[in-house]
């Protein structure tokens, strides 16, 4: 496969922090109308190392997709980054010039979506769409582009690529379309792949195949993954690290295996307890009472406090900040340290 170092000159490499691929610091995303700001993502910070797989889990309205879209520069109309920084290999994407950003999208950062049908151009053969990025960014000829498209389709497990390369999106099944999307996204060998619920619309058997393929292909290409989903089990399968979001904030993060085995935040625990687990058939489900706060009406203290069985007076008055404890666990809960072992009991 063809690799070039084009566009790397636009980056300012930061010698002090060479290992970090993506560094998000106190990111706030929302609507600004005059002087009033409505915050959807409220002070999110996390780092992604090269070649790792990072999951963001949350329910609808938690701000997980907004965070991802902010990284990709695809915020929906009206919303904007209010403050904070998104540093990709040292370049702050928030303040970067649009031309720099455009230069990064494709060869460096790529994104796949939940519904591939709306993300693919319905009137162009999928092969041309896969080849488009490499031809523009890597300067491939038409023939080379076609060859790369075939190769990528093979890599993503699309059967009979020679025939399918001329197919239009509507002629493919949902699973194949998602594979085409992945082939498109990875064709330029990006360093970072952003995934917004890429398997939610797929059937379980196809989901399994696509997740396996995504994992091995990212390893092969050398791309890091930022994977947004509502499904804890999918994160467990796919990601090495995860962050749990609630009402626009990260409430807990860490190694996936540790967080899921021994959650410290009551919300993470609540999510685990409320979802049926196939491997624990007899376990009773414990729903989280109440509803998440609306974006405009978040409580002043901890956003989860009104639904939390462990809340104390302190939780209603001040918002806990995300802190890392001595055993490298990161939680935003006043009662996490004191009750860490109790909660998991």
């Amino acid at each position: 496969m063809i690799m070039t170092e084009t566009d790397l000159h636009v980056l300012e490499p930061d010698p002090s922090d060479r290992t970090l691929l993506l560094e998000i610091n106190d990111l706030r995303v929302g609507l600004r109308r005059g002087r009033t700001e409505t915050t959807i993502v409220d002070g999110v910070s996390f780092d992604v190392d090269p070649r790792t797989r990072f999951g963001i889990v949350g329910e609808s309205g938690s701000g997980k997709s907004m965070t991802l879209r902010a990284i990709a520069g695809l915020l929906p109309g009206g919303t904007e980054v209010l403050s904070g920084s998104i540093r990709y290999r040292g370049t702050d994407l928030v303040t970067a010039k649009p031309s720099v950003r455009r230069g990064l999208m494709g060869p460096e950062i790529a994104m796949i979506f939940q519904e591939p049908m709306t993300a693919l151009n319905p009137v162009r053969p999928v092969g041309d769409q896969i080849a488009e990025g490499p031809r523009r960014h890597l300067g491939l000829s038409k023939k080379e582009g076609r060859a790369l498209a075939l190769e990528m389709m093979g890599h993503t497990g699309i059967p009979d690529p020679v025939r399918r390369v001329r197919a239009y999106p509507h002629e493919l099944s949902g699973g194949l379309r998602q594979r085409v999307m992945i082939a498109m996204a990875l064709a330029c060998r990006p360093k970072l792949l952003l995934c917004d619920e890429p398997t939610t619309a797929l059937d379980v058997t196809v989901q399994h195949q696509v997740l396996d393929m995504l994992e091995s292909l990212c390893a092969e290409v050398g791309a890091a993954l930022v994977f947004v989903t509502h499904d804890l089990a999918v994160v467990n399968k796919t990601c090495s690290d995860l962050a749990v979001m609630y009402a626009g904030r990260i409430v807990e993060s860490g190694r996936t295996s540790e967080v899921l085995a021994n959650p410290r935040h009551p919300y993470t625990r609540g999510l685990l307890d409320s979802a049926p687990d196939f491997d624990q058939p007899g376990r009773a489900l414990v729903p989280i009472p109440g509803l998440p706060p609306s974006i405009a009406n978040r409580p002043p203290g901890c956003a989860f406090a009104p639904r939390c069985s462990r809340a104390v007076a302190e939780c209603d008055s001040a918002a806990p900040i995300l802190t890392t404890s001595t055993d490298h666990r990161t939680v935003a809960c006043f009662r996490a340290e004191a009750s860490g072992s109790e909660i998991s009991a």
């Binding site: 609808s60 059937d203 379980v204 399994h208 089990a233 409320s274 979802a275 049926p276 058939p281 989280i288």
Partner: protein
């Protein structure tokens, strides 16, 4: 719980004629194209149980649901309720008996009617309770689904997804149906809300003795809630058994594939080799023989020739375990 079936599906088939218009066919000399959505489905629903119907998209789950509630006519076969076949055109009383809860709680409630208006209309049309008791009955219905009285005078737009689903369930229950068909009722809801709706279904079964056909794709949910499971693949039912039995001892390779594909919370290294290659074949062009053989790791020569029917397993005496696999009894032990 008695074992008498309250609803029987007897050899129901549904084909759609998706041919081009006659003139075009004549000009281009095309054949008629038929899409087989359901191909001879037999199923029985026992009183007071929750039966899960699982399968991938295109397997015919929703088509079957639509035939059961009477919004689609079957091409062949019949639906039998309490021993008598339901005619193609249902009157008010017949349609009352089988009600449905839909997947999307945002399109299943009329945005311009209050909950009370919606419920009392049904109560009056069917004379469920005397006119004077309609108010009381409305209140009973909303409290049955875990909402309080002031929900009655609100419009659907004022509720969250989970609350809307509760209202949709109250609507279905208002006419006191014998059978409730729930078409993916929790898959549009957030995880923390799903649990409360699942509990609601369980309590309706336990307290009212309601019979529910629960269509789902999430096997963890199915395992949690349902007594029996029917697995569909390409318009056929390929395996039916009790929930514990089917997950412990699946006797159809497709069921095994489904189970192997479940994203797990525990150790993630599963029986990955059971996950099928490729995707279901097109329903326009079904394979000969067993329709799962192109993806099946256990397929033999006979599987390409013979189209197996759903048969009881010999060793499952006492408990009924049906499988439509020619090699059902000599499949390797499941991991």
């Amino acid at each position: 719980m008695t074992d008498a079936p309250v609803l029987e599906v007897d050899d129901v088939a549904k084909t759609y004629d998706v041919s081009a218009p006659l003139l075009q066919r004549l000009f281009r000399q095309q054949q008629r194209t038929l899409l087989t959505a359901l191909d001879g489905v037999d199923l029985e629903l026992r009183r007071g149980e929750i039966l899960a119907l699982v399968g991938e998209s295109g397997s015919g789950k929703s088509t079957l649901a639509n035939i059961l509630v009477g919004s689609l006519p079957a091409t062949r076969g019949q639906v039998v309720q309490d021993g008598s076949a339901i005619p193609a055109r249902r009157d008010k009383e017949l349609s009352r008996r089988i009600q449905m809860v839909f997947q999307d709680p945002y399109s299943s409630l009329n945005p311009r009617l209050t909950v009370r208006a919606m419920l009392s209309e049904l109560l009056r049309v069917h004379d469920i309770v005397p006119r004077s008791e309609v108010r009381k009955e409305c209140l009973r219905l909303v409290s049955l689904v875990g909402l309080d009285e002031d929900a009655l005078d609100a419009y659907p737009g004022q509720f969250s997804g989970g609350q809307r689903q509760r209202i949709a369930i109250a609507r279905a229950l208002a006419v006191r149906p014998d059978v409730l068909i729930a078409d993916e009722p929790v898959s549009a809801l957030d995880v923390s809300v799903q649990a409360t709706i699942l509990e609601l279904f369980a309590s309706l079964r336990d307290e009212l003795g309601l019979t529910i056909l629960f269509i789902a794709h999430n096997l963890a949910v199915v395992q949690h809630l349902c007594q029996r499971v029917a697995v569909m693949y390409l318009g056929r039912i390929v395996e039916v058994a009790g929930t514990d039995e089917i997950f412990a001892n699946p006797r159809h390779p497709y069921t095994r594939a489904l189970i192997a594909s479940i994203p797990r919370m525990g150790d993630t290294s599963g029986a990955a080799d059971l996950v099928p290659e490729g995707e279901p074949p097109s329903p326009y062009d079904l394979p000969t023989g067993c329709r799962y053989h192109p993806r099946c790791p256990f397929a033999e020569a006979q599987c390409r020739e013979l189209d197996p029917s759903l048969r009881p397993l010999s060793e499952s005496a006492g408990r009924v375990h049906l499988s439509a696999c020619l090699r059902a009894s000599d499949l390797p032990e499941s991991p």
